[in-house]
């Protein structure tokens, strides 16, 4: 059996019934070298302090639930091994989000922003069953597949300096998702989505810090999606004077 490591965790605590502002609490525990940050948090909750609250589910970087700030960087805590950190590890909730309790953040604003970009396929007229399935080539799929890999972990919102300064900014994940549907050949609603994109607090609020793409655990590249959407929208706006836009879609 491998030798255990001694680690110190400085964890943000906040109980809305008792605390005015978040504070920190220190835990010194022994951990297995192959543990992830999340394993250590679960160990603390199970054996040291059952009042610690944190969010997690799949433990394999798929569900996007366990995003937290680790030593100042937004991270999925189930992904990085403890051995890649020093003896002292600071864990706090994701920045830019209201804190519900300890390491748990409020998601409502994030979900509302997602709805704004209409992340679903819009068509002018539903296809009849007799018409068969909608065909899409591998090349057409490759145009947007990367942007559809988002797991909604919110690390990009936590890292984005524009989200910090402009709370109404729709944000990297939502805009990348909107762009993903604009790139989908089955979709006919890009002109509807582009109207949202060109509004205040959307793509032109992005100042290309590129932090969202740097911290994204699934390499979705939201920053790239937003820059592509900017160019597509300039072209869409310019051509709208000479080309009639599509029919009403739903």
């Amino acid at each position: 059996m491998s030798e255990k490591l001694k680690k110190t965790f400085i964890v943000t605590r906040f109980d809305p019934d008792k605390d005015e502002v978040p504070k920190t609490q220190t835990y010194e525990i022994e951990v297995e070298p192959d543990w992830k940050i999340l394993d250590a948090l679960n160990h603390i909750k199970d054996t040291v302090d059952p009042t610690l609250s944190h969010r997690w589910s799949c433990r394999m970087a798929v569900c996007g639930s366990c995003g937290m700030t680790v030593n100042g960087e937004p991270k999925l805590t189930c992904k990085d091994p403890l051995s890649s950190y020093g003896d002292t590890i600071e864990i706090s909730p994701l920045a830019n989000f209201p804190i519900v309790r300890d390491l748990v953040v409020e998601l409502e604003g994030f979900m509302e922003k997602f709805q704004e970009v209409k992340p679903w396929i819009m068509v002018a007229k539903e296809r009849a069953v007799e018409e068969g399935t909608t065909r899409q080539s591998p090349e057409e799929l490759a145009d947007f597949k990367g942007f559809s890999m988002c797991i909604n972990c919110m690390l990009c919102y936590s890292a984005c300096p524009v989200v910090s300064n402009e709370p109404e900014f729709l944000g990297p994940a939502a805009l990348a998702l909107g762009h993903r549907y604009n790139q989908d050949t089955r979709d006919e609603g890009s002109h509807v989505r582009n109207a949202v994109f060109r509004d205040e607090g959307a793509i032109f609020s992005c100042s290309f810090a590129n932090e969202c793409s740097e911290v994204c655990p699934k390499n979705v590249n939201p920053s790239g999606a937003i820059q592509q959407a900017k160019l597509a929208n300039v072209i869409d706006w310019a051509t709208s004077f000479v080309v009639k836009r599509g029919e009403d879609v739903s």
Binding site: A95, N96, E139, D143, N210, E211, Q228
Partner: protein, 147 residues
């Protein structure tokens, strides 16, 4: 067997209440940590772009005002303040361009028209090629070698 049916609203709060939360916090140690300083410097280089564009417009204006105005415009570049500005602008905008070139491939779509996107290295090499060509032509032009 029980006749009880599951209650779908069992977890619904008795009265709607706002969630009590602590205020959001900005990213840790913003703006001094990690990649944030280079992002802010990148944004700050916009000032060089703005000022240089104004200088260019002033030049066009001077051209319209005749030879004397143009000569005065050229002579004004010999002023130490202008020289210092141009050195700072050259360094700032070169760094600005190089950072943009590094990020550029990630902003490009999978296909460019009917063509598949070239490799990132090809895109970056192309940008460097254009940058240094423009720099060389500009230097020769301002040095009088092309007139």
């Amino acid at each position: 067997m029980s006749e009880l049916r599951p209650r779908v609203d069992a977890m619904k709060p008795r009265a709607p209440m706002p969630t009590r939360t602590a205020d959001p916090r900005p990213p840790d140690k913003f703006p001094s940590r990690g990649r944030y300083p280079s992002y802010l410097a990148f944004g700050a280089c916009g000032a060089f772009l703005l000022l240089s564009a104004q200088l260019l417009i002033r030049g066009v204006w001077a051209l319209g005002d005749g030879e004397a105005a143009w000569d005065a415009y050229i002579v004004s570049f010999g002023h130490p303040v202008y020289l210092a500005y141009h050195v700072a602008a050259f360094i700032g905008l070169t760094w600005f361009a190089l950072r943009l070139f590094r990020l550029f491939p990630a902003t490009q779509p999978n296909r460019m028209g009917p063509m598949k996107r070239p490799a990132d290295a090809v895109l970056v090499a192309g940008l460097y090629g254009v940058f240094f060509t423009v720099l060389a032509v500009g230097t020769l032009f301002l040095g009088g070698a092309l007139l």
